[in-house]
């Protein structure tokens, strides 16, 4: 599979404008924060606006053959991005990592690793230009994640299963 990748340099990122960076950060903070926590309507509306502003219309007339996938973390950290065995590079904080892929060439299953944080498995799509803003969770905050479960205390009865609590 041909891969066309490039990292934007700091200079070119500046040229592309700080406005985009601000919009990106806003979208990241709102979309990840809000959807993960399932909070209020106002915030979700703002996130929707930010995302719809950042995602081009799927039905736009002239589409280039490639799509740009902008990858960054929240909080911004230097993080390595891998696609299977292939390293796509390191996010050059504060700039994002920009990946260029053939349009509609299938998704990318990515693993993002930053020192002091749990690795994150995520996915990027190639149907249109997109932004992948990944929330990082520090090792000490593991218990705050959905799916974390406390192990039951050692059973005094030697592990004999309890009877179902609700048996109508």
């Amino acid at each position: 599979m041909t891969t066309s990748l490039h990292r934007e340099t700091k200079a070119s990122w500046r040229r592309s404008g700080y406005l985009l960076a601000i919009a990106t950060a806003l979208a990241v903070l709102l979309s990840v924060g809000v959807s993960a926590a399932g909070k209020g309507k106002k915030a979700s509306d703002q996130a929707k606006q930010a995302e719809s502003a950042s995602e081009p219309d799927a039905a736009s007339a002239a589409k280039p053959d490639t799509v740009r996938i902008i990858i960054q973390t929240v909080p911004p950290r230097r993080a390595r991005v891998k696609w299977g065995r292939k390293s796509l590079g390191v996010i050059p904080t504060p700039s994002p990592l920009v990946v260029v892929r053939p349009r509609d060439s299938g998704p990318l299953d990515l693993v993002i690793r930053a020192a002091g944080f749990l690795p994150v498995h995520t996915r990027a799509y190639t149907f249109t230009d997109s932004r992948v803003a990944v929330k990082l969770t520090s090792l000490s905050d593991k218990s705050k994640l959905f799916g974390y479960r406390e192990e039951p205390a050692p059973s005094p009865d030697g592990g004999v299963p309890a009877e179902p609590a609700t048996t109508p």
Binding site: A27, G106, P107, H121, P152, A162
Partner: protein
């Protein structure tokens, strides 16, 4: 979830305000009285006596002199000869244009037009085409060379290009000659023997053989059959022994056949004579290839297909593919499933006489096959041989199909009734975890009705699912059982989503949200997007209709998460113990037919791709997994919505209302009592109207 619900509602609202695409294009098969007034004199005419157009008397539109084979042309057979004609002219003349191209998708996945005439593409269309052509995998990534998808069983029939390759390859293969059809036909099924019990089973058969041989010698019988006659007390043993011997012999032929068809994969090591995982997977591939709805064992339909010559199976596949193309071209759904002991139901036609509901699916397919000379295996093979692979890039054919019934039109008064059948609310196991049977005589059924001439007529009836006891993850991170029932009462389908995405609620067990995948040479755990969709394996299958209670006085619709959707889990539909999480499942190909039919015969708007920026993280061991969904699917809005009535069914057992709390799984150690059921999920179980969640199946 509230966030998602708000967003989805906003998208729907946006779509309903701004994306009016007008009524759908009518089917190319036009009902009597609606034939276009073509200038051509060669227009096929309806036979007023029979209500059909007779193919034999139809003169084909003039064939173009130059045989330019592009997408504007179609093949027409006249006097046994193929000609390429202008497809639009043929359609105007009353011919039905059947898409034979490799780029075909069912109606629901085609690129529709927006209100301003712009294309509204469906994200899944490319993947559907890639899967049908063996060029892409379920994620839309290139399929390794030589790999086959075999997804007809899951609603994605192979393209004619793929069938052409299959036919031509099987015509030349020689390994089939070494397979004994006789030995395969000698058994109806082959009993499953677990690999670790095979040696013991073989020893038992040998012992039985020695015992019977000794008895035969003593009684001076010429054969075991004669022994059974002479000594009836040994008849059962003789029968058992002979069946086991025949099954062993047939098993050898099955292995040869599956190997001959390339069903074994190199990485899956098979031990000869053993029904191991490699064998099970090979049988599953064979069943998928031949659209056999059976569990992955050597049961009767599977054995029948294994005993048939490969080309005979190929021809059956060819006819199934042709059927889906004809159904799509003609926009019909009546498939004979309404026929009872006294034949098919009737309705009173405009003439005042009773008219039977026809099996249009079979009738039109047969007609097309006959007219195209594809009604025999040899005819199909000839057709595929005389056309190059490149011909199927744009191939379309024009045939004068029998006229559709008089009730056909762009605004048919359709409705759905779901009968839940026999319903059990009792726990299916006791405190010790021992399961108790909950037999059902009446299974859930899905019925499509038409109101015409003041009568309600049944057009199609299919088996479906209702909810039952399912595992669910509670807020303490542990799995419990919970009764997830199917709502009863009046609903409507306002939105139909092609390539729907299932947003797994937080109560979904994490183990089902992960899978192993080869990501560019690295075997790693990833989010199980197969389950989320869009895709044939999605929890919502390839298409879903969303049940809602219409909002009144300015209130939004109430959505309790119940859908009628396609499913690849056909055993949940057809097995006696199959249940859903509350939704009504149909095999994907039937769901596609159903919703394609509804969308083409009811007023609707194309809302198009429902983009969203959903992301949610969860922890599994020491890694974080992020579900990232860019789209909700491709939406159509029915206006007016389609009425649905869900009948209560017959409540069996002791409990007459469903249990609304979590129930601990027998054998699992929990840290404490079950937490309360998630408030937003209340409405999911058993028709409680208290919830208002966007939770899904």
């Amino acid at each position: 979830m509230k966030f998602v619900l708000t967003r989805f509602a906003a998208f729907l609202l946006l779509g309903s305000l701004g994306c009016h695409a007008g009524p759908p294009a009518p089917p190319s098969t036009t009902p009597p009285g609606m034939l276009p007034t073509a200038a051509s004199n060669s227009k096929p005419r309806p036979d007023s006596a029979t209500g059909t157009r007779t193919a034999g008397t139809s003169a084909a539109p003039t064939a173009t002199a130059q045989r330019t084979r592009d997408e504007n042309q179609a093949i027409v057979i006249h006097d046994g000869k193929e000609n390429w004609i202008d497809a639009e002219a043929a359609a105007r003349s009353g011919y039905t244009i059947i898409d034979f191209s490799d780029d075909w998708t069912p109606f629901i996945f085609t690129t529709q037009k927006g209100p301003d005439g712009t294309d509204l593409p469906n994200r899944y269309r490319r993947v559907f085409i890639g899967l049908a052509n063996d060029t892409l995998d379920e994620d839309g990534e290139p399929l390794p060379a030589g790999e086959k998808n075999y997804l007809e069983l899951y609603g994605i029939p192979p393209s004619f290009g793929v069938l052409r390759q299959r036919f031509l390859a099987n015509r030349q293969q020689t390994c089939h000659a070494s397979i004994s059809q006789e030995k395969l036909e000698e058994v109806e099924t082959i009993a499953y023997v677990a690999p670790d019990k095979l040696k013991a089973a073989d020893r038992k058969t040998e012992r039985l053989g020695r015992e019977l041989e000794s008895a035969r010698a003593k009684s001076k019988a010429a054969s075991l059959a004669e022994l059974a006659q002479k000594n009836p007390s040994l008849a059962a043993k003789v029968k058992t022994y002979e069946r086991r011997v025949a099954e062993k012999a047939a098993m050898t032929e099955v292995e040869k056949r599956l190997a001959c068809e390339g069903m074994f994969k190199k990485r899956e090591r098979h031990r000869t004579g053993v029904y191991d995982d490699a064998m099970r997977l090979a049988v599953r591939r064979f069943q998928q290839k031949n659209m056999i709805y059976e569990s992955n064992y050597l049961r009767s339909k599977t054995m029948d297909a294994l005993a048939r010559p490969p080309l005979a199976n190929d021809y059956l596949a060819f006819m199934r593919v042709l059927r889906e193309r004809v159904v799509d071209a003609a926009g019909v759904v009546e498939d004979g499933t309404v026929d009872g002991k006294s034949g098919s139901p009737t309705y009173t036609g405009e003439s005042g006489k009773p008219v039977q509901v026809r099996n249009l699916v079979d009738e039109l397919t047969k007609s097309a096959a006959e007219q195209l000379g594809l009604d025999t295996q040899e005819g199909a093979l000839d057709f595929l041989k005389r056309h190059k692979a490149a011909d199927f890039k744009h191939m379309r054919v024009a045939v004068p199909l029998p006229a559709l019934p008089e009730y056909y039109g762009p605004n048919m008064d359709l409705s759905i009734v779901i009968d839940r059948g026999d319903v059990w609310y009792d726990l299916p196991w006791d405190a010790n975890g021992v399961r108790h049977p909950q037999p059902r005589r009446h299974y859930p059924s899905f019925r499509l009705y038409l109101k015409y001439n003041g009568q309600r007529t049944l057009l199609a009836r299919w088996r479906t699912t209702i909810g039952g006891w399912r595992a669910e993850q509670a807020s303490d991170g542990y799995e419990y059982f919970r009764y997830k029932g199917s709502d009863v009462g009046s609903r409507v389908i306002r939105n139909v989503v092609a390539g729907p995405v299932w947003i797994a609620p937080e109560s979904t067990p994490i183990r089902s949200l992960l899978k192993m995948k080869d990501v560019r040479g690295s075997w790693q755990r990833v989010v199980n997007y197969d389950e989320l969709g869009p895709g044939y394996l999605s929890a919502y299958g390839l298409v879903a209709g969303y049940f809602v209670q219409p909002g009144r006085n300015g209130r939004p619709d109430w959505d309790n998460g119940i859908r009628a959707h396609g499913s690849s889990n056909y055993l949940s539909i057809y097995s006696s113990e199959g249940y859903s999480h509350g939704c009504h499942r149909l095999p994907n190909h039937l769901a596609i037919r159903l919703y394609s039919f509804i969308l083409r015969h009811r007023p609707m708007r194309v809302l198009g791709d429902q983009g969203m920026g959903f992301a949610r993280q969860f922890l599994a061991k020491d890694d974080v997994y992020e579900i990232r969904l860019p789209s909700r699917g491709y939406s159509y809005e029915l206006d007016p919505p389609l009425p649905v009535e869900v009948l209560q069914g017959d409540i069996k057992g002791t409990l007459k209302t469903p249990v609304m709390t979590y129930v601990q799984k027998p054998g699992t150690v929990y840290p404490g009592p079950p937490p309360p059921v998630h408030a937003s999920d209340d409405g999911k179980a058993g028709g409680s109207p208290s919830g208002k969640s966007e939770s899904e199946e």
